[in-house]
């Protein structure tokens, strides 16, 4: 068998895009990572330029230059901000993911990521913790675990294994119970596979997807609820092919919005808390859930303030695309900017609907000794239910 070369997996679309890229440089200015590092190898447009060079050189590319490009590829939060300004609307997130996939296949993958892929293969989660401990967090909480249910609450690795997120999961459970939903968590839940997409191990996704689909189909559920936008995106983009049209996929925010609209849950009188909301990239930009959280906040508080640089063109918190594994400090610096913005607009509470954003921003707020309280979206809703 022929030795595989970096970027060999690029098909017609990707190869053509290397030349079709309009070189306008819009992506360079908006990239949150490039803004922080100022290293041009992290600039999206520059990566395309270098990848085009590698593609043309084919076999004769020097190993060091490939390595440099690969390092640049991993210094990226996959937030899709570059895609949002791309005049050609080319799917850049998929491009970065595909390039990372090639890096892993040809042995250029970076260490934390390859380790994580191994962890996913062995234990079905990204933290290399035992798979049997995935539902340990439910202890002491009234979390239903049924064989059959109408609604499945898909937890995701972060919420399952990270203690800080326990209140968020608890709040979500409260909301689901208050709405009178016949719901359950999955017994055989494994990682959704989104981290594999981010890290470049896409070819191992099938096993995980099969396991999840089997577990979901055995419950006969018609609806799957997500707290993690990463899981949500990989479900509506990839799993929906397997699950068919029968199953509705909703993010917690969409679900809560529909509850508030239909009156399934009643909220108390509006508070006067200055709440702001950070749009997770995976949810707002890459999945298009933008208006729903604003509807809910309009019913929750009189003092909702919009965080600058939000909605479709939201600036990443720095926690996406496994960037934290590459450069924790830079990722925190990016997150601190979001906290600073929240302070500037005078918000007392900063909410977000993504476990990863929550972790990154709350850590940044703690490091910054900021007064802004960072909570998950569900945590903001749960105490206000009548």
């Amino acid at each position: 068998m022929k030795q595989k070369k970096f970027l060999d997996n690029f098909g017609r679309s990707e190869s053509l895009w290397m030349y079709a890229c309009s070189r306008c440089g819009e992506c360079v200015d908006v990239c949150p990572v490039y803004e922080e590092t100022a290293d041009k190898y992290t600039a999206p447009g520059f990566k395309i330029k270098k990848m085009r060079g590698l593609l043309r050189a084919r076999g004769s590319a020097r190993e060091e230059s490939v390595k440099k490009v690969v390092e640049g590829l991993y210094e990226c939060t996959l937030c899709g901000r570059c895609w949002s300004v791309c005049p050609n609307n080319y799917d850049l997130v998929a491009l970065w993911e595909k390039a990372r996939e090639s890096a892993v296949e040809t042995g250029f993958g970076l260490n934390p990521h390859t380790e994580m892929i191994e962890a996913l293969k062995a234990e079905n989660n990204i933290f290399k913790r035992p798979h049997t401990g995935r539902r340990d967090w439910t202890k002491g909480l009234r979390i239903p675990e049924k064989e059959k249910a109408d609604t499945v609450y898909f937890i995701g690795c972060l919420m399952s294994y990270r203690g800080q997120l326990k209140p968020a999961a608890k709040a979500m459970a409260t909301i689901l119970n208050a709405a009178g939903e016949n719901w359950t968590i999955l017994k055989g839940e494994v990682c959704c596979g989104a981290p594999l997409r981010f890290s470049g191990g896409t070819k191992h996704m099938e096993e995980l997807m099969d396991a999840n689909v089997k577990a979901i189909e055995s419950t006969g559920a018609r609806k799957i609820v997500f707290s993690c936008p990463g899981c949500y995106r990989v479900f509506w983009q990839e799993y929906s092919k397997l699950l068919g049209d029968r199953v509705r996929l909703v993010h917690a925010i969409e679900l809560i919005d529909s509850y508030v609209k239909s009156g399934k849950i009643k909220l108390k009188d509006k508070t006067e808390e200055r709440i702001t909301y950070h749009d997770p990239c995976e949810l707002s930009r890459l999945s298009g859930v933008i208006e729903e959280p604003r509807h809910v906040f309009a019913n929750l508080t009189t003092q909702f303030v919009e965080l600058p640089g939000n909605k479709f063109n939201v600036k990443c918190c720095g926690g996406g695309g496994l960037y934290k594994a590459i450069d924790l400090d830079k990722s925190r610096e990016i997150a601190k900017k979001r906290v600073t913005l929240a302070e500037e607009i005078g918000a007392t509470t900063l909410t977000t609907a993504c476990p990863s954003c929550y972790m990154t921003i709350s850590q940044a707020a703690r490091l910054k000794k900021s007064n802004v309280k960072v909570i998950d979206f569900a945590e903001a809703i749960a105490p206000q239910i009548e």
Partner: protein
């Protein structure tokens, strides 16, 4: 920043068609669109004159004077603005390749020879007679350089990834992606 992109990603893979790309270009940089549009007009009219000349003859008179001449004059202005923009924009210098700069060199030579030929035409000879005098020394070579360099540029920018290959790839990519949309997933069903 010039406005927001109004394409909520509810479809996967995201759509890439001519209207989105053209709108996107207009949103990103109007000077870019003008630059490319004028260049396309100039290239096409130039090729028509040179390749179809023996058959069309006098019909091309107005094409040469208006579509190639006045548009060319406009292009010179836009090109100068574009070059200044490139020189002052770090983001563009980050993404432009050597081939792009060689392309610019081609355009500069084509522009200068074009100005040389046009400088003796009305109204330029009346407005700036000094221009014709200043450029008279290269007037002998101007037509040959202007025409031959265009063809050399076409070959160059196709073989190396320059302007022509960029355009061909864009057109082919947009047409090709249409097939991919058949199995597109949408978020809300």
């Amino acid at each position: 920043m010039t406005g927001d992109k109004k394409v909520p990603k509810k479809k996967y893979p995201p759509e890439m068609n001519y209207s989105i790309v053209l709108k996107g270009m207009g949103r990103t940089s109007p000077i870019d669109v003008t630059f490319h549009l004028l260049m396309a007009i100039l290239l096409i009219t130039g090729l028509i004159i040179d390749l179809l000349g023996p058959w069309l003859g006098g019909w091309l008179s107005s094409i040469r004077s208006i579509a190639h001449g006045y548009v060319g004059a406009l292009f010179v202005l836009v090109f100068i603005v574009y070059l200044i923009k490139v020189a002052y924009s770090k983001k563009m210098r980050t993404v432009l390749t050597v081939t792009n700069y060689v392309d610019f060199l081609f355009y500069i030579i084509l522009t200068v020879t074009g100005i040389t030929m046009a400088s003796v035409n009305w109204p330029w000879i009346n407005l700036v007679p000094e221009l014709a005098d200043a450029l008279s020394s290269i007037a002998v070579y101007a037509p040959a350089v202007h025409v031959a360099l265009t063809y050399v540029w076409i070959v160059f920018s196709t073989v190396f990834p320059g302007g022509i290959l960029h355009g061909l790839a864009s057109v082919y990519l947009i047409s090709h992606l249409k097939k991919k949309y058949k199995n597109r997933r949408s978020r809300v069903r």
